[in-house]
């Protein structure tokens, strides 16, 4: 039996018993909607406390989850058996599909407004260059997350919902997930350095 055949057999076995994962957990949608409305109201009202809350809370969760998943969970996941990996993925990925885009939207939208409101984007401001650097870091993370990570994440979930999931496809896409999560985790270290500089200038 080749590695691919073994992976297929293990994955099919692992996903045969547990319930098929829901690609988007519908129960989470009202929470996402509430967060989006809160951010819009904060921006529309130039509400300093709410903007700071959204930026700090969203940013802290985004950074911490990226670091934890990229540098702790990812390598562990890579060493787990295909069957265990499939079962973990079926429960973990649907939550990430809703959680991460919401945190990113909340952090970036509120952060941009804060930067404008506090004059940090004005050319003479000492924070201007640091903020442009943070835009670049976020830009790289956005392309990786939206162009590679999220399509892989959703495809794995769709594959797992099939009657006979293809283990080779899941293994291939999970490898992509593990590598890209590691890269975005490392990029978050740059974000931490930039944001602590901005806060202390």
């Amino acid at each position: 039996m080749t590695d691919v055949e073994r992976a297929q057999a293990q994955t099919a076995e692992a996903v045969a018993a547990p319930p098929r994962p829901q690609v988007v957990p519908l129960r989470g949608l009202p929470i996402v909607a509430a967060v989006v409305v809160f951010v819009i109201v904060s921006i529309a009202g130039n509400w300093l406390w709410a903007l700071t809350f959204c930026h700090v809370v969203g940013g802290a969760l985004w950074t911490a989850i990226d670091l934890f998943v990229g540098l702790i969970v990812g390598p562990i996941l890579g060493r787990m058996s295909i069957a265990a990996r499939a079962e973990f993925t079926a429960r973990f990925m649907p939550k990430m599909v809703l959680l991460m885009p919401t945190l990113v939207l909340m952090t970036l939208a509120a952060g941009f407004q804060l930067a404008i409101k506090q004059g940090n984007l004005l050319p003479g401001n000492p924070n201007h260059a640091w903020l442009v650097a943070s835009f670049c870091v976020v830009g790289v993370m956005a392309v990786i997350a939206l162009g590679v990570l999220e399509p892989a994440n959703i495809t794995v979930l769709v594959e797992m919902r099939k009657q006979q999931p293809d283990g080779a496809v899941i293994a291939l896409l999970m490898r992509r997930f593990i590598y890209t999560a590691g890269i975005t985790g490392l990029m978050q270290v740059a974000t931490l350095i930039i944001m602590t500089r901005v806060a202390t200038q």
Binding site: P101, A109, I116, F135, V143, G147, P151, I154, E159
Partner: protein, 132 residues
């Protein structure tokens, strides 16, 4: 494994160009940004995504129903995201040509992300023995 035209790489490159253009525009707020470079990046990005769509349209035995299902929902999600970014620019008094360019960039952004998600989902749902 079946070979596919480079729809995903083209779309991701298109997304990267839009992100670079967006960074250029955002770094000038609240001043009026120079539009030449962002407009050029947007034009190249549009060409890349259209090329991807053209290549995809020539595919035979592709999981089109699954593609459109994923595309619809992803588009809904990213239209909301793009709408929020657009709202922030309008709120920050971006007007005229810069606003028009931002809107075009946001449309391409929403299409890029939805396209790459839907294409990735559909390519792994398509029959493995069919040829491009």
């Amino acid at each position: 494994m079946r070979r596919y035209p480079p729809v995903a790489p083209l779309t991701v490159c298109s997304l990267a160009l839009i992100v670079i253009g967006g960074i250029l525009m955002a770094s000038y707020v609240p001043r009026q940004p120079p539009l030449t470079i962002p407009a050029a990046l947007t034009a190249v990005s549009a060409v890349l995504v259209l090329t991807g769509v053209f290549l995809m349209s020539r595919l035979e035995q592709f999981a089109w129903p699954r593609f459109f299902l994923a595309f619809r929902w992803a588009l809904l999600a990213y239209v909301i995201s793009a709408g929020m970014i657009g709202f922030a620019f309008v709120h920050d008094h971006t007007r005229g040509a810069p606003l028009a360019l931002v809107i075009v960039m946001l449309v391409i952004f929403a299409l890029d992300v939805s396209l790459v998600i839907a294409f990735t989902v559909a390519r792994y749902s398509s029959p493995p023995h069919s040829a491009y």
